[in-house]
Amino acid sequence: MIVRFFSLSVILIGLAAGCGGGIEKAPVAGAVPVTGTVTLDGKPVGGCRIIYFPTLSSQGDGASGTTDSAGKYELTSLLGNETAIGAPPGSYKVVISRMLRPDGTALPPDSQEPPMMSGARESIPIKYSDFNATQLSATVASSGGTFDFEIKSK
């Protein structure tokens, strides 16, 4: 009986010690549609990855999109476990990236190959493509919006 009592208490203590609390992510406000055009030296540029990084005042995990051959993009984001069109309202830091392989061809934006495995490098100047150096930003209003970025290679 004592052995049983002892083993039961050990099991109970083990269970109690193993129960760590996971932190639930707070739900974020609904996303609103965000679209726009990216031009490089005045010409629309396709195959760019455009990423909206949330700043402290905005909710959510950010959003991203890819430009088509006309330079147009549409953002998608992740709210909880659901995919949403657009991004939650708020202010964002914007990064535009276009990776080129050593032979000059663009790495497809939907490629699941890590860019550096193909020797690809960034073709957009660092003041647009680097998270720390970017001078681009966007403030998404509650009605969504269109954000066009005219970037220059020099």
Binding site: F6, I13, I51, S64, L78, M116
Partner: protein, 330 residues
């Protein structure tokens, strides 16, 4: 008269068991963490030894070693921009070997031969490599325990041979390191342009083919990072090797991605396919498998554990040696 048998009562036994149970409840979680705590101490000690080695190197040579030397995988650089006629892809860790009691290994290394053949962007081609990188393969393939974090179970080598990451066409990559010099990530492309492009306030202590001294750390040695910890598994790119430079193996940029970034790009559906806890998303980024942050070695020789939730401005200011900003508490 009947003799009384001496024995415990049930109550006494239950009280003793209850006390033992309480003691176990107190000790059990501590035991589970003890091994990881020991590994964390060992990791911290590795960085401490590297710090002493760097200071001894500075006392001997009056400068710190460069992070990497004469790299061949650059796009901007090459002979036309003042680069070397022959590239070597040598590493500053090789120069530190005599200061971490690896003088015998140092004596095996031939400085007239390149450390690897990595070439990518066309400023150089394999015909520009100095000597034969296969000669030094026996040195750069040596696993140095001082450069490995005991909490990191990942591969110690890059196992295939290609123009990006291996020593030569016939030999795979050299032994990896969990600790690397704080340097600007852009050096993977801009070798000799680095110190022309970067404002002096944006520079890190280490740089390719360029040495600095303690006087140049104007923010103060206790406010500037020298060496940062990383993980030997990376999604985009390959972790650094200690003995040779390779494409993207040029140091750790603490000012680039936040510590322990597992997702490449934002946490959005387009990127989630590559997210994996414990694998860094990008090369040259800081991280560790000690939960919650990573170690850094500061210029004064102290080793600090940085939380992955550290303020971005503090993290960036730690990386830059002469930014002129007040660091604050971290």
């Amino acid at each position: 008269m009947r003799s009384r048998r001496s024995a415990f009562t049930l109550i006494e036994l239950l009280v003793v068991i209850a006390i033992i149970a309480i003691l176990i409840a107190l000790l059990l979680p501590a035991v589970q963490q003890a091994r990881e705590a020991a590994r964390r101490s060992q990791c911290k000690n590795n960085l401490k030894q590297i710090g002493i080695a760097l200071h001894n190197y500075h006392d001997t040579h009056r400068v710190f070693p460069p992070s990497r030397l004469n790299v061949g995988f650059v796009g901007w650089g090459g002979v036309a921009q003042g680069g070397p006629t022959r590239y070597t892809n040598a590493s500053g860790w090789t120069m530190l070997l005599p200061f971490i009691e690896q003088a015998n290994l140092y004596n095996l290394y031939d400085h007239n031969q390149a450390a690897s053949w990595s070439y990518v962007y066309g400023a150089y081609s394999p015909s520009d490599v100095q000597g034969d990188p296969n000669v030094n393969y026996q040195v750069v393939k040596t696993v140095l325990q001082t450069l490995l974090c005991p909490s990191d179970p990942n591969d110690k080598f890059y196992n295939s041979s290609d123009q990006y990451y291996s020593v030569s066409a016939t030999n795979p990559g050299g032994a990896r390191t969990n600790y690397d010099f704080n340097a600007w990530y852009g050096e993977y492309y801009y070798q000799h342009y680095t110190n022309r492009y970067l404002d002096s306030r944006d520079r890190a202590v280490f740089s390719t083919s360029w040495s600095t001294d303690i006087a140049a750390i104007r923010d103060g040695t206790s406010n500037t990072a020298l060496i940062t910890e990383t993980i030997r598994e990376v999604w985009n790119g390959v972790p650094p090797a200690w003995g040779h430079a390779h494409h993207v193996g040029i140091g750790i940029d603490l000012s680039w991605y936040p510590i322990n970034t597992w997702t490449y790009g934002p946490n959005s559906p387009a990127y989630l396919y590559m997210r994996k806890q414990g694998r860094l998303a990008n090369w040259a980024s800081a991280g560790s498998l000690h939960v919650g942050g990573c170690h850094v070695l500061l210029g004064d020789g102290s080793v600090r554990f940085l939380s992955e939730n550290i303020d971005t401005a503090t993290r960036v200011n730690l990386h830059k040696m002469a930014d002129g900003n007040v660091l604050g508490e971290f």
